[in-house]
Symmetry: C2
Subunit: 96 residues, 2 copies
């Protein structure tokens, strides 16, 4: 179920303060994560991959060396849901 | 060192027959790999990530669920080199 206006206020605002952006023309959020090396970047991706499978919710993401661009949305709901908030928070936590 | 004309003939032609394409406006090749699941796709990416680090040559790649789009070029040489051919062949081999 798509995020309500109240959830957007309470759940998206902190993510946006933490470097996430609303994607133009889609109900989605994106962020670029920068690491010290490819090993660090892909190591983080690997941890997120396992969480994604566990959550049954997967990111759109691209990687070039030490950078990972992530876009989150819920295709089945055609927009942002609580799953995106959960995965975004996990990504931020594990990137520290 | 960028691929010579002879190497393009001998090394790129088989890759193109195997589903790789020349990228417009860049001296690069790309291919979309499709797997049965996210686990299969990311498992393949993980194996390639380790080979990439070993080769000291990394792909540009993006993943959405069971699909992985790959672009290969050698930034230091501003175009295709033997490293790209080596990594492309490894990707094809491990995708089977």
């Amino acid at each position: 179920m798509k995020l309500s206006d109240e959830q957007r206020e309470s759940d998206l605002a902190p993510l946006i303060q933490n470097g996430w952006s609303l994607v133009p023309d889609r109900d989605a959020i994106s962020k670029t994560f920068t690491f010290k090396s490819f090993i660090e970047a892909f190591g983080w991706m690997t941890r997120i991959a396992i969480w994604s499978e566990k959550y049954r919710h997967h990111p759109e993401w691209s990687n070039v060396y030490n950078k990972v661009d992530v876009t989150l949305t819920t295709h089945d709901s055609d927009g942002l849901t609580e799953l995106d908030v959960k995965l975004a928070n996990k990504m931020d936590t594990l990137a520290h």
